[in-house]
Symmetry: C2
Subunit: 508 residues, 2 copies
């Protein structure tokens, strides 16, 4: 392993005593040995060139005190000494060139590109990397180390990307498909009956009849899951700052599957005049012109729904003896950028979930998750009567953070999915089934990412479960059909004598 | 009024019989008189130049059959004749230059700019306008006429922008400020008590205690407004397509006050690699890099909340005898891009409203609106006990569509605002009051914009009312304070014996 940097210091004035400066640099060599394990090599200064108001250095190292660290240690020392003795400061550090010969455990299969890297060439399991565009911020934040880490991750990801998903049956109902009243996707029939109205890509207005079913399902979940298990309502924001998505992992993991929210670049009407006039004159929506008037995104639309929950505890110290806490959020929809044509109501851009979130000890986190799962199964059995199964599956919240999922040999599962069988293949995916809920234990994943602290240093675990009235209503309708009199009494009791609907003969 | 255009037709091949072509152009002169009122002048062809495979024309007109219409009439005629007789077509129409001398009623006070206009010079109440960048789409859609209309609108807007807002007292309570338990903005105290947690600019997580109050207020509004007045629940999408915002008027009227939702330019992970690596390496959120990976906005965040309601009836024919219909939406929050620093909970980027919407005859639209207003006042009187007033005010939905609001001398008001007095000036605006609900009759504004049709051609009117639990909770708290035992029994009955909250001693 070798690192080689040519760097220069630009000073705020002319050097008055070059010899003294030279001596400070020589003294700095000591600094580059600090923190190096015994018998190992530290950083080296292999050339020094002193100009009128600048100093050029060549820095080398092996594993320890790499030039991007060394150059800052030298800067600090020079700044202090030159300021005191010669009344000048270090105005800027410039990396003229920086490269490494870095040994790899594994060689990448394909070509790998990285930001801040001009060139990667791999020979005999050694990567020769030429860094690029590293400014002082990059040095201070050790981008080179992170670049090398990212290189190793990407090589690893190449290998795991083809891995089969983990899946293990937890429980299931008997076959029930023959009881389903509907045999095909009901979306067009729902529209024809004015239960829904299409508005945009994967976005539907839910009209009174279907809204009543959604509401009744939400009420059943409140009655049978939330209240008996002691979940308390909170309202989690439905737009999520980029910084929270970074800690959640989704900014890195699935930025290509989320919708992003941009503010106007300015509220000043004068700046918007041209766009507004163009809309008036052309009669077109002019999204490109609109884009030019927007600032970069400040939020994503809520994707996982639970994102703000982790932020509640950020950098705060809690007493685990006061936990667990169980919150439920049903404040609004969430959004996904789905691939392909969104045709049916089974998969949407905007859809409703009830999100259950909790924080506590590892034992609490697991047992609460299991309770929510089991109560959900109970509803499938006692109210929905659909064909369902629950599988222990890959921890999707790790995938959403772009992390390799390993170690599925725990004695508990991190994720369970509740899936309902469909009597047809959906338009959105080649599947005859629909996942309608999932139940997760995150271990200390978010505790770490959001810097939660526990009074006595005990583990803080979290969990979440998403139950989607949108999808529950969809499978309910398949099983029970459009005839309200056939619906289970527990649902009808919540809706009332008649299912509300638009009056017959309203539309010509 | 004079219009002068130089245009050319590019043909798909060489002209075989120039004389025949010349004759067709001469015949076309007749076409330019069609539809012109008796005694008025139509369009004129004042020069013709026939080349090898192109024809250049000069076109002039007064008010009628302006060159942008004339050139298309000539194109149509030539295309047919040349295709039939000489086997060539008109490949393209190019506007070489186009200008008008256009008389104005009013002269603008300041400089006016317009898209598709290179130059405007105003002399003696005549605007000399040189058009620019007009392609065939622009001609077909009559941009020049729309540009002139827009010019007149902008001159008019200059004059009305300074107009005082219309406001007329409808009703009010007696002074009650001395009953308020809190005397200053409670936001920081709410955060200290863990009733709320700040997450982003104007975005707060609502924790159990405050969530219980919001929920109770929503329940009161359901019990006292929605149910007795026969409102039925619907779920209106919380992201609104650009096209719907165009018809709503807000794309033109207030694009600078809304948040916009952009999809990824692609889901292809390879295209996102650089952004993702940069996030990992820099540890920064990199909004600019994210922006580069986004497509132009496809939706706005819901602003008025009622936007999707107007879309339900778009281009549909209804039987007014089956109306009125009353819908209520409480499906999720809405969003505003507010100016300045958002400090307190009184004004937010994300906040909750219950939206009441209705459609029916003019009489229905007005009486339903008045009922919702009066039931809301009843809650202020019987539950909230705050100092309130209701004013008939400027029809804000017209302002949001960028339209001049005129004719406030109707015998009904189009808009009422419910405003509550505060015992302090808010941080967001220099006001000692907060608007907490508004009640609107739109007349046939949306019927026109969304092309609603009635079976017998009768008028279809609509109305909406927004009641914000966010703001209602805020003024409730000011009046009744933090001590749960002091709260009105109607609210406590809905919440239960104890106000839920995070356990004491949870945070260190």
């Amino acid at each position: 392993m070798k690192f080689l940097m040519k760097a220069s210091f630009e000073l705020s004035g002319e050097i008055k005593d070059p010899a003294a400066l030279k001596k400070h640099i020589d003294d700095a060599r000591e600094t580059l040995k600090k923190g190096v394990p015994k018998g190992e090599q530290g950083g080296e200064i292999t050339s020094v060139e002193i100009g009128v108001d600048r100093v050029a250095l060549t820095l080398e190292s092996g594993r320890h005190v790499r030039p991007h660290d060394a150059v800052l240690r030298i800067k600090k020392r020079l700044s202090q000494a030159l300021g005191r003795e010669q009344g000048i400061g270090v105005r800027r550090v410039t990396v003229e060139s920086y490269e490494t010969w870095y040994p790899l455990d594994q060689v990448p299969a394909g070509k790998i590109t990285l930001p801040f890297v001009k060139e990667i060439e791999i020979v005999d399991k050694t990567a020769h990397i030429v860094f690029d565009e590293l400014d002082e911020t990059a040095l201070e934040n050790r981008y080179p180390d992170r670049i090398l880490k990212r290189l190793e991750e990407k090589i690893k990801e190449e290998r795991v990307s083809g891995k089969a998903e983990f899946s293990k049956r937890h429980s299931e109902s008997e076959p029930r498909l023959d009881r389903y009243k509907l045999r095909k996707d009901p979306t067009s029939e729902l529209a024809r009956r004015n239960w829904v109205k299409h508005m945009g890509r994967g976005v539907w207005t839910i009209l009174p009849a279907y809204a009543a079913l959604w509401r009744a399902i939400e009420d059943v979940v409140m009655e049978r899951v939330a209240r008996p298990l002691g979940f308390v309502e909170v309202m989690l924001p439905k737009i999520v700052p980029l910084d929270v998505q970074k800690k959640k992992g989704q900014l890195f993991g699935i930025p290509n599957e989320m919708w992003w929210v941009c503010p106007p670049a300015t509220r000043d009407p004068a700046e918007w005049e041209r766009f507004k006039d163009t809309v008036k004159i052309t009669g077109q929506t002019n999204p490109e012109g609109l884009m030019q008037n927007l600032a970069p995104p400040e939020f994503s639309l809520a994707y996982a729904q639970c994102e703000p929950f982790y932020d509640i505890w950020e950098k705060r110290t809690v007493d685990r003896d006061k936990l667990p806490l169980r919150f439920m959020d049903s404040y609004g929809p969430t959004w996904r950028y789905e691939s392909g044509g969104l045709k049916g109501l089974e998969r949407l851009s905007e859809f409703k979930r009830m999100e259950f979130v909790w924080i506590g000890s590892p034992e609490d986190a697991i047992s609460i998750r299991d309770e929510v799962r089991d109560k959900s199964i109970e509803i499938m059995e006692e109210v929905f009567d659909v064909e369902w199964r629950v599988d222990a599956t890959t921890a999707v919240y790790l995938e959403h953070a772009g992390e390799a999922v390993e170690g599925e040999d725990r004695d508990y599962a991190r994720t369970y999915d509740l899936t309902v069988a469909l009597p047809f293949e959906t338009a959105s995916r080649p599947e005859r089934e629909l996942e309608i809920a999932s139940f997760h234990v995150h271990e200390d994943h978010y505790a770490k990412n959001f810097y939660w602290k526990e009074k006595k240093g005990r583990a803080l675990w979290s969990g979440c479960a998403g139950i989607s009235p949108t999808r529950w209503a969809y499978v309910f309708l398949l099983r029970h059909g459009f005839d309200y009199t056939d619906w289970p009494s527990e649902i009808k009791k919540l809706i009332g004598e008649k299912l509300p609907n638009l009056p017959d003969g309203l539309f010509m």
